[in-house]
């Protein structure tokens, strides 16, 4: 008891200070119109911030279904569009691959993603059972994402452009010159395009798209825009820095492209090389 009183005697000034300070503060915010308004508006700002914070979560749940529906619808529309790419010349009978829908789209959700390693990878929630195969191209609504490099029955792993092992055949949209796009392992927003000859007219801001060579991507899918130009050490080629159009930090739904004729094309190409 005496100990407690002694303690109180030594520390009462803390208590007294708090009581007086709280009293002054209460007076301040209750009797002064300006401070009162600021005080109240701070309260509103805090609760407002809290509400918008919680609503991002609730909205994520509410819009999850909507997102999925939209992704499915996009894929359906793209498939319809891909089927329409035949030449509309009824008087001229023809039969070739232009008539067919060469590419088929399906969608998948990104369930895991990395942007800060040399060997970045993206995991999708669809696998063999949903028609995913090794070597299919992956794009988002903003542009090319990468290529599927591994599949299990329900998941697939994509090597994105921002994986140092990845190379994608790309070209400059308006000149048509093509080169090889690779990533130097630094910035997830930038890749390098090499193999474009020094005499090609290029300016900053030019669009870089897929070349359409190979069977993975259709021609002309957006990859990014030219950010910086440099000549390589020997002066024969450009080293072009490309601003990637896909934001790898924000990926949620992607589309997987399968080339229906890929097998036939590869087979023909294979026959050709074995013949040589």
């Amino acid at each position: 008891m005496w100990g407690f009183l002694h303690f109180l005697q030594r520390t009462y000034h803390y208590l007294l200070f708090i009581v007086l300070q709280v009293t002054a503060f209460m007076l301040l915010v209750s009797k002064n119109p300006y401070q009162r308004a600021e005080f109240l508006s701070t309260g509103v700002a805090i609760s407002g911030g809290l509400y918008s914070f919680t609503s991002t979560f609730t909205q994520a749940f509410v819009y999850k279904d909507a997102n999925e529906k939209l992704a499915a619808e996009n894929v359906m529309l793209k498939n319809m569009l891909a089927g329409k790419t035949k030449l509309n010349l009824p008087s001229f009978p023809y039969s070739d691959t232009l008539e067919l829908a060469t590419y088929r789209y399906s969608y998948a959700k990104v369930v895991n993603n990395s942007v800060n390693k040399l060997g970045n990878a993206i995991t999708l929630n669809k696998g063999l059972a949903q028609g995913m195969r090794v070597g299919l191209g992956v794009v988002s609504s903003h542009g090319v994402v990468g290529v599927i490099k591994g599949v299990s029955s329900n998941y697939s792993v994509v090597l994105p452009i921002i994986n140092s092992q990845m190379r994608i055949s790309s070209k400059l949209k308006h000149t048509g010159y093509f080169g090889s796009l690779y990533w130097d392992g630094r910035d997830y927003r930038k890749a390098h395009l090499e193999g474009i000859e020094h005499y090609v007219q290029i300016s900053v801001g030019d669009t870089v798209v897929t070349s359409g060579y190979g069977t993975i991507f259709p021609e002309g899918m957006l990859i990014g825009t030219v950010d910086k130009l440099d000549l390589s050490a020997d002066g024969a080629f450009y080293d072009i820095v490309v601003n990637l159009s896909t934001n790898y930090k924000k990926l949620s739904y992607v589309e997987v492209i399968s080339n229906i004729n890929a097998g036939e094309q590869a087979k023909t190409e294979g026959e050709q090389t074995t013949n040589e």
Binding site: H13, F17, L20, A24, M26, V29, S30, K31, E38, F39
Partner: protein, 162 residues
């Protein structure tokens, strides 16, 4: 003595208050120059009382009371650390007379800055006008410091003559 001082300071202060943009607050002299061994409850209550008196005269309830109680509290904690170890029992007032000008200047700079910072922050009550508030704090602090030095000077020289 202390009661007399309150009245005097409040009247001086009330007049200086009218000055406008830059407001020196000389009244903190009352708290700063309390005896070193003054009871804690007295220091705190006096801080609150003086602050409230100013608030009453300037129609800003709680504003000066809050800032002054704060420096009164900090003074309780900080003053024993600031005082020179060689202090004797007679040197019971934190004034130039006992501790010299350089010590006194350091002492009043710390507490004036603390008091004015809290006061103007509470007056603005938001960080919207942060730089304007900062300028006010610095300008008023300089003004108050000048007045504090002046006051101390008068007291010092009058005591000298006695």
């Amino acid at each position: 003595m202390v009661v007399l001082f309150i009245g005097l300071q409040v009247f001086i202060l009330n007049n200086i208050q009218i000055a406008g943009f830059v407001n020196p607050y000389l009244y903190i002299y009352l708290i700063l120059c309390l005896p070193v061994n003054a009871p804690k409850w007295l220091v705190l209550s006096l801080g609150f009382g003086v602050g409230t008196a100013i608030d009453y005269l300037t129609a800003t309830p709680g504003l000066h009371a809050s800032a002054t109680v704060f420096i009164a509290f900090v003074r309780l904690i900080l003053l024993p650390m600031l005082l020179p170890l060689s202090r004797t029992e007679d040197e019971n007032w934190p004034t130039v007379k006992y501790f010299g000008w350089s010590w006194f200047l350091r002492y009043i700079v710390i507490f004036t800055l603390l008091h004015h910072t809290l006061l103007f922050m509470l007056e603005a009550f938001s960080f919207k006008l942060f730089w304007f508030t900062a300028i006010k704090i610095v300008a008023s602090t300089i003004f108050t410091l000048l007045l504090l030095v002046f006051t101390q000077r008068i007291q010092y020289s009058s005591e000298d003559r006695m």
